[in-house]
Symmetry: C2
Subunit: 339 residues, 2 copies
Amino acid sequence: MRIAVDAMGGDHAPDEIVRGALLYRDSGGVADIILVGREEVVRAALGTAPRPGITVVDARDVVEMHEHPSSELRRRTDTSIGVATELVKRGAADAVVSAGNTGATMASAVLILKRIPGIDRPALCGMLPTVKGTPACLIDAGATMDAEAHNLLQYAQMASRFMERVHGVARPTVGLMSVGEESGKGGRLQHEAHALLSGAADITFFGNIEGRDPLRGTTDIVVCDGFTGNVLAKGMEGVVDVFRDGIRNDIFGGVLGKIAYVIALGGVRKLRGRLDYDEYVSAPLLGVGGVSVVTHGRARANMLRHAIKVAERSVSQGLIGAIQAGQKAGQGAGPGATA
Amino acid sequence: MRIAVDAMGGDHAPDEIVRGALLYRDSGGVADIILVGREEVVRAALGTAPRPGITVVDARDVVEMHEHPSSELRRRTDTSIGVATELVKRGAADAVVSAGNTGATMASAVLILKRIPGIDRPALCGMLPTVKGTPACLIDAGATMDAEAHNLLQYAQMASRFMERVHGVARPTVGLMSVGEESGKGGRLQHEAHALLSGAADITFFGNIEGRDPLRGTTDIVVCDGFTGNVLAKGMEGVVDVFRDGIRNDIFGGVLGKIAYVIALGGVRKLRGRLDYDEYVSAPLLGVGGVSVVTHGRARANMLRHAIKVAERSVSQGLIGAIQAGQKAGQGAGPGATA
């Protein structure tokens, strides 16, 4: 197995990306890694020691984090994310992983790998930590705007296959994000989606959930439209940041705080462990014809290692085939299926 | 001025509600308070000492927190929230405040006080703390599903009048919730709303904001549809709860933790003060023909005191008249204005 990694993508690229690839290999990762980026820069980060299982493919262009990739991305043929995705298309790699510009990673996947037949809109499947200690996923975390009910059903189906195959969850439960638990809650989209999800045989539908539920781990899968998912994920992340800063600077900031920190260290580690999302933060883009995993722009080596692991399991467990088989079996309810 | 308070509404009713009313009066509140609820219960909570400026109005029925008020609410004529809202309608009170069932408070306001002419859909204006220390408001926090762009413009106008009059913010800035700051980001609703907000003369439009921005205090007002606002508010609150529990139980839980707590107490208070939202958590329902303020179901006396204060300022500063005047001046862009 070979996994192409965008070595230039992310706030800490290329050093932390290259370190993440090494960490993946050193911790027993079975896939060979293809680092894609400016060759001299990537090789400098790799160092001179021999690195079995790691190769470098040159790409001269980089989509920067702050860029807003649009149609012009089609004309840029030598970006690290574009070249890495092309490797998957040509069969020279089995998956692509990037901590870079999410829009560019998604656009590359859709343009180059194309959608899976029957899937109308791709969706970003964002992983979240929960207070139960089990991971949950939020789909769609922002790939598609103006989703319709049949899209939400496909999200539920794709995420179910992902949680079964990649995270080993048997019969993962699906919650529909709404403003109350009764089936009548929400707007037109939620009413229609509730009916479709209730009738689907290939998912375990829990019912409506609310904004507090993802973190509580009420269901394994949280389904919502990409606008809501993006706003919710960023909103929750914003609160996490405020508390992290608050604990660091307010509670443990001054001289007394530093003493208290040493005394409370066990508890701090407990809370940190509970909310550590390095393992979870990778978000596969589901619905495209290949494995494409996005991870956080802030990703450092350990987070990247886990993202590569998610890509590896997606390949070894046949995720794409499982999603395709579901669509072929007519379990998908796209406009084609309902017409 | 007289403010009707639903004495039976909220997790800690009637004791904390009654205490909140007393606290309001004792801290210099100028409005007389009318406590509405089962008279014998309310009087027991009030105690036997004379309480100038506080009267009790009997109502035998209560909408419980877990009830889902629907059309049947019309038939229940003796609920505490219904009777309190009727007092405003009849001119026997100038505002109504409730920590009870939000759906029932909103339904009572819409049914009894009616919408302000020109306002198509009412909106809940939820207050949020920000890291800047200034309050911000999120409108609509969940009153209306399936909002359209002209509704979002009216939310921005109503919240601008609210922040000017009640919170004394000159030229409050309005951010449109989206998935990126460029004007092209988001779905159809956001594109249309961006165009309307950009063209409105009676608001100070900042542009698009993202899920992280409300807590950062990027703008004084956050405008979004009620579905998104409800999910975002509950999602953020869920994270706050997890951290509060984590700080209390994980960091400061054990014997060492308790020692650390004493040492770090100054810092803990600093963080708590930064995130204290007692002052902010009241959410007026804007767009109805009277002052109706909802506060958190968990509200205790201090939070209720602040909610009464918000109602008092809304009345004394002529909030309803300011919203009506804006609509009459044709600054509103309802379907009538654009047709």
